[in-house]
């Protein structure tokens, strides 16, 4: 289907509309943006860049949050 791309998110395939930004991905996944941090292709995408950063096919995304740890 035209206009759809496949990326990897946290180790699994994810389809989304071409042109989706990192912020858009977070919204689509219904995540609370203030509770996540994002890497694309092993580079941090800072909070301020999430809107501008457009995802492209084959991008490898890590979406992380905080969990209990010592």
């Amino acid at each position: 289907m035209e206009g759809r791309i496949t990326i990897r998110v946290n180790g699994a395939d994810q389809e989304l509309d071409a042109g989706t930004s990192v912020a858009g991905l977070i919204a689509e996944l219904q995540l609370r943006p203030e509770l996540v941090a994002v890497e694309v292709n092993r580079e941090l995408v800072a909070r301020a860049e999430r809107e501008a950063r457009e995802l492209i096919a084959g991008d490898v995304v890590e979406l992380v949050t905080l969990v209990g740890g010592g």
């Binding site: 609370r32 996540v36 941090a37 941090l44 909070r47 740890g69």
Partner: protein, 275 residues
């Protein structure tokens, strides 16, 4: 020897623990892992009196039925959050994790762990040193988990660590401080604060660590894994207070035997001499 600093006011008055630009009123740093529930965790943190809590960075759970977030249960106005790099086995992933944590928390504080293997969870000295250099250069306030090798501690200090955190014994082993002399020598060799991280199993371990003169104790499993975590949180709060003040108070010397606490003069006739 680190010289104890006396106080004039309350008999147990103390200075704060200063790590770079961060100030902690409590010398007990507490982890957030392994609790039965977030509620239990929040209660344990409250009872422990800590104002610095460690957290780990992990992939978001994308499952639709997502649970609550840890951060919903940690009041950031009360607690400084100290993200760790637990689970990283090389410098690169530890640095990436630190950058993610900084972006998420808007803090430059990080507890650096670069581990050597999954079996022992002991730190890899080379990866730890590399990551310390990179993070310090990137402006982080690095609290670095390390072995108790004093000269490795010097290397980490030279690389820019803000706080040296030797393991008393392996993570989760509950063996306490296995080599107090190594900690003592480390404190002589570095000017950064030294905090014992890992290995504390019970209250006397924490007290003994503080009596060595270290600036703080970081623990998690000892509280979360106790049969009654909340009671152990209370015990640890007291233990750190006890050990710190015993250090500052200047303990009596150790002798092979005997120094009467009751006077040997003016005893009644016939009390004898035992000679």
């Amino acid at each position: 020897m680190r010289t104890p600093q006396a106080s004039e006011t309350r008999p147990d008055a103390d200075t704060a623990l200063q790590v770079g630009k961060y100030t902690f009123q409590s010398r007990l740093l507490v982890g957030t892992g392994k609790y039965a529930t977030f509620e239990q965790m929040a209660q344990a943190l409250d009872i422990s009196g800590t104002d610095c809590v460690t957290v780990a960075v992990r992939r978001v759970n994308l499952d639709p039925a997502k649970g609550e977030s840890l951060l919903d249960h940690v009041d950031r106005s009360r607690y400084t959050i100290l993200p760790n790099t637990a689970g990283c086995f090389d410098a690169e992933s530890a640095v990436r994790t630190s950058l993610l944590a900084r972006d998420l928390l808007e803090t430059d504080l990080v507890k650096l762990e670069v581990l050597g293997d999954e079996k022992t969870l002991l730190p890899d000295p080379i990866g730890t040193l590399e990551a310390t250099e990179q993070l310090a250069a990137a402006g982080f306030t690095v609290m670095v988990y390390t072995s108790d090798d004093p000269r490795l501690g010097v290397r980490l200090a030279d690389a820019g660590a803000a706080c040296i955190m030797p393991a008393g014994s392996p993570i989760g082993s509950g063996q306490g401080v296995l080599n107090p002399n190594a900690i003592r020598i480390l404190m002589e060799l570095v000017s950064q604060p030294v905090v014992v991280d890992a290995g504390v199993g019970t209250a006397s371990d924490a007290a003994l660590a503080m009596e060595l003169g270290v600036e703080g104790v970081l623990l998690n499993t000892a509280i979360a894994g106790a049969t009654e975590p909340l009671r152990m949180a209370a015990a640890m709060r007291s233990a750190v207070h006890a050990g710190r003040n015993a250090f500052l108070a200047g303990r009596i010397p150790i002798k092979l035997y005997a120094n009467a606490s009751s006077p040997m003069e003016a005893r009644i006739a016939g009390a004898g001499s035992g000679a």
